[in-house]
């Protein structure tokens, strides 16, 4: 499995995503600059957190116009796995790859803290190794993670089973239906505010996010008929 970590001006979790793949999977991983126009040959695309383009105008609003985002759309069409975390999630929303929008946290403050999530479904490439209803510790760090969508979209998300993670306990940012992460209808694109790449080792306080990476590797192996080791 080849992984691309996108790099926009102002991305700052790109290094963490790279490290997470390198250390938890040991599979090939490369940084891909925002001006690249092709993601051919990549099986997993990570859209990292940070402050792309300084979050000017609106989080993710400028990044969606980067040439590499057209390549992401092509990759999604061919079934590549795409994970957008934090600012990456915001970029996927702005790009229209996932429905909804982000608002400021209800506290109006940036929040960084360990966060318990509830896994809503485990039939996805990214969540197969979790149990439905399992609670995992995956930290958050954002100022605008208050996910919003209108009633009709929420009904559709529910009907299509597109909600992947919800916040367990107190909702930290006021998101609709306690949503922490969602997927597209095909299930190959996931966007989430919490940072699984920060939760891959007990040394960092939690390894609750590690199985997202091992799950997707196994899904790729199954898809490619490889022997699962």
């Amino acid at each position: 499995m080849r992984t691309a970590v996108l790099v926009f001006p102002g991305s700052n979790c790109d290094v963490d995503c790279y490290k997470a793949i390198e250390q938890t999977l040991g599979t090939p991983v490369e940084y891909v600059w925002h001006q690249e126009t092709s993601l051919d040959g990549f099986d997993l695309i990570l859209v990292p957190g940070g402050f792309s383009y300084g979050d000017y105008l609106r989080c993710g609003a400028i990044a969606r116009f980067a040439p590499v985002m057209d390549a992401v759309k092509v990759a999604v069409e061919r079934g590549a796995f795409v994970l957008g975390v934090c600012n990456g999630f915001q970029i996927l929303l702005e790009s229209g790859l996932l429905p909804g929008a982000m608002r400021k946290n209800t506290s109006l403050k940036f929040i960084c803290q360990p966060q318990m999530l509830r896994v809503a479904r485990n039939d996805l490439a990214f969540t197969a190794e979790y149990a439905v209803g399992e609670e995992i510790n995956v930290p958050i760090a954002h100022g605008e993670g208050n996910y919003y969508c209108d009633e009709a979209t929420l009904e559709e998300l529910k009907a299509n089973n597109q909600i992947v993670f919800t916040y367990a306990g107190t909702n930290p940012n006021g998101s609709v239906a306690d949503i922490a992460g969602i997927t597209n209808k095909q299930g190959n694109v996931v966007g989430m505010m919490p940072h699984p790449e920060r939760a891959v080792s007990e040394l960092l306080g939690s390894d609750g996010g590690k199985r997202m990476f091992t799950s997707v590797l196994n899904a790729w192996r199954e898809r490619n008929g490889a022997v699962i080791g």
């Binding site: 700052n12 290094v15 490290k19 402050f51 100022g143």
Partner: protein
């Protein structure tokens, strides 16, 4: 005196003659004697640009003219020190060709006027100091002081300083891993905002800000220059007054996104090797960076100011030279390196413009619209500022405090109520409200984040980690500068030892009032004596720092606050230790000796509403022995948790270890001292430790063998903190209840 051969083309600016006649240099903080010196160096009267450049270069902020004689007292060398004070930041070897780079810097005056931008640009400035050395910044720390968290103004300053720090650090993607926040009326109207940055570097990547190679081009990198921050360095070198608000334009505006790009591009440039020297444009912007780079190489620099990217039209040379617009760097490369160097900045979309060249005449010469507008000798700009040995006088309050009996307070009947009150004191209470606004995890190296004695950050690719702590008890330093100075260094070292680290070195931020007052100068020089002695005994040299004087408000000077930023090396990840109790049944020990020492304590201030007498006494030899013994035991794997005893003494330390560990404790102490002293005295060189029962005997033996007093005082158990002294129960509190008080203190006041 010869007439000026150098013209200024800004029509409205005063002429050299007018500057002399009307003594305009006085408004820029230049004294009569300094002005005469400058005239002597130039052989004529300086014009407006030149006097402006001299005034900032000779300000306290850039020249350390009032503090240099004092700073010479610090030990600045050691077997691990690769670079001491003088460059952007100091560097300490951590083995395997790696080194740690760190420095602390103040942004007090700007933050008092415009707290968000003042704090944000303080963070931005210190980050530039670190990456301009060629180092990758990996962590941010800070040390903040505000007035009492009661008035709307203090709440405003606190809220916006915190969001300014968060806004900058979060966006640039460097974790803010810890720090300290203290509230005391001494800082009313003059908050302290000290930011520290820590970076990693390989020995062979260390950069120096030198303009070597006559004829080499000088490049300007970063956003265009505007009229912001003009005379910021001068502003920082005077007292805050009612008129300071009018100097708001002297506060710069930060853009962390731009600095992120600048950081990545500069590190890429350095890695590529396509440069000769690089320096950030901090205080006094283009002036200071160009003069210092030239001076360090023994060369001169010519700048063509029409080439300087400008944000506004009609900017004069004076404005360009004195602007403190943020996120700008200056670098020198060879003509052969130009193409490769500029390509890097192009890729990152950053302005990179040739603005000058290195010359052999030792002059800083400025050209604008075809004319030479300034011509000054660089060595005199950077080195010739007179230094002042200010008069020093022992203050009356210090003499009077000698006879104050700090044991005269009547012991309160309810010592649990005292604990609850102390946990509610904002300086002691949980700072979660603060640090949850900081991204303290980005870069996935934070092993221990904010809220323990020291923060711990992993050194990627190794089994090593760095521990860091910022500390200063301003009350102690006020009551006895020498003792307080010693304690500041010792506590910082103790904090990193408690996390499992060997203390390496310190950076210091000397925040004081006006040195023109003999009593304040005495505080400065005496506290430095204490700090220097502690640095020698604890083998933690000073590798750099910052001086912030003139911290005064309408009521007088702040408490003398020499903040220590300590960095320690954890040799193996297995040694990392935190303050929370770890497991039911663990043995609890108190190491060190307790005396009745209430002077300057939180107990004295919060319960008896006075700050008087002498602070606790520290014996540095005892401290060093204790730290060595404790670190040895931690490294031997004998320790479960360790927590330094500081403000609030044993009582608060026990509560914090319970709260952090989400566990109770049963403690029983036999003592000849009064019970409030057992719980709330702030005697030094003490640590609260827990071990497994299996290791308890070995630990007690290891500490005892070193000659350090040790007592097993209880066990970790249940969900209640129970403390009895000489058989009488003094505290019996649910940990959850203590936690609630401690956690709610700041949010409730900010709500």
């Amino acid at each position: 005196m010869a007439q000026s051969s150098v013209k200024s083309n800004a029509a409205k600016e005063p002429t050299a003659a007018q500057i002399a006649e009307q003594k305009i240099y006085r408004q820029m903080g230049v004294t009569e004697a300094e002005y005469e010196l400058i005239c002597g160096f130039l052989g004529r009267n300086p014009n407006y640009v030149e006097i402006g450049v001299f005034s900032v270069m000779w300000s306290e902020h850039c020249s350390y003219k009032n503090s240099k004689p004092v700073l010479r007292k610090f030990p600045v060398t050691g077997p691990r020190v690769l670079m001491g004070p003088g460059e952007g930041a100091g560097i300490v070897d951590i083995g395997d060709n790696q080194a740690v780079v760190f420095k602390i810097e103040s942004h007090n005056h700007p933050s008092a006027i415009e707290p968000f931008q003042g704090a944000a640009t303080g963070v931005g400035g210190i980050i530039r100091d670190i990456f301009s050395m060629g180092s990758r910044p990996i962590a941010l720390m800070n040390s903040l002081r505000f007035g009492r968290l009661e008035s709307e103004r203090v709440k405003y300053l606190f809220e916006h300083v915190v969001s300014g720090i968060a806004g900058y650090g979060n966006c640039i993607g460097i974790p803010t891993v810890g720090g300290e926040v203290v509230f005391d009326e001494a800082y009313e109207g003059n908050p302290l905002v000290n930011a520290m940055c820590i970076g990693l570097i390989n020995h062979d990547q260390i950069q120096r800000g030198v303009a070597k190679g006559v004829g080499n081009p000088v490049y300007y990198v970063g956003p265009a220059t505007g009229r912001d921050g003009i005379h910021g360095a001068t502003f920082a070198s005077e007292e805050l007054t009612a008129e300071s608000e009018a100097k708001r334009p002297a506060v710069q505006v930060g853009d962390p996104f731009m600095e992120k790009l600048c950081l990545e591009a500069c590190l890429e440039l350095i890695a590529s090797g396509n440069l000769v020297g690089i320096q950030d444009m901090g205080a006094a912007g283009l002036t200071c960076s160009s003069a210092e780079m030239a001076a360090k190489a023994g060369n001169g620099i010519e700048l063509y100011l029409d080439e300087v990217p400008q944000r506004e039209t009609g900017m004069t040379p004076y404005e360009m030279m004195l602007s403190e617009s943020q996120e700008r760097m200056l670098f020198v490369c060879t003509p052969e390196q130009e193409e490769a160097a500029t390509a890097i900045f192009d890729r990152w979309g950053i302005i990179c413009k040739k603005v000058g060249k290195v010359t052999d005449d030792g002059r800083l010469r400025l050209f604008h619209k075809g004319e030479q507008v300034a011509d000054m000798p660089v060595q005199e700009l950077t080195e010739a500022c007179p230094t002042y040995n200010k008069p020093s006088k022992v203050p009356a309050y210090y003499e009077a405090n000698a006879s104050v009996d700090t044991t005269r307070y009547e012991e309160p009947a309810d010592l649990q109520a005292v604990l609850e009150k102390l946990l509610d004191v904002p300086s002691i209470a949980s700072k979660e409200w603060v640090y949850n606004q900081y991204d303290y995890m980005v870069r996935t190296g934070t092993v221990i984040g904010p809220g323990s004695d020291a923060a711990v950050v992993h050194v990627p690719g190794t089994r090593k980690a760095l521990a860091t702590s910022t500390d200063c008890n301003g009350r102690y330093v006020y009551l006895d500068p020498e003792m307080g100075g010693r304690i500041a260094v010792a506590e910082a070292a103790r904090n990193v030892v408690c996390s499992g680290a060997e203390p390496l070195a310190i950076t210091d931020n000397l925040n004081f009032g006006s040195p023109d007052k003999p009593e304040i100068f005495w505080q400065l020089t005496t506290s430095v004596d204490g700090m220097a002695e502690a640095c020698r005994v604890l083998e933690t040299p000073v590798i750099g720092g910052n001086v912030s004087l003139y911290n005064e408000n309408t009521k007088g000077a702040i408490y003398p606050t020499p903040v220590i930023g300590m960095v320690g090396l954890i040799h193996d990840l297995d040694h990392i230790t935190s303050q929370g109790f770890k497991a039911e049944g663990d043995a609890i020990f108190l190491i060190g000796e307790t005396n009745v020492e209430f002077g300057g304590s939180e107990y004295q201030a919060s319960i008896f509403n006075v700050v008087e007498g002498r602070p606790p006494v520290i014996d540095l030899a005892v401290e060093k022995t204790m730290q060595n013994a404790l670190l040895g035991s931690i490294q031997a794997g004998l320790v479960q948790s360790a927590h330094d005893l500081s403000e609030g003494g044993l009582g608060v330390a026990l509560a914090e270890s319970c709260i952090s560990g989400k566990r109770g404790a049963s403690v029983s102490i036999e003592s000849t001292l009064r019970a409030d002293a057992v719980l709330y005295s702030e005697s030094q060189s003490r640590v609260l430790v827990s071990t497994t029962q299996a290791n308890a005997a070995a630990f007690a033996e290891a500490i005892g063998k070193a000659g350090v007093p040790i007592a097993q005082i209880g066990t970790v158990t249940g969900e209640t903190l129970n403390v009895s002294i000489n058989g009488a129960s003094k505290i019996a509190a649910q940990v959850s209840k203590l936690q609630q008080i401690w956690k709610d203190a700041i949010p409730c006041r900010m709500a």
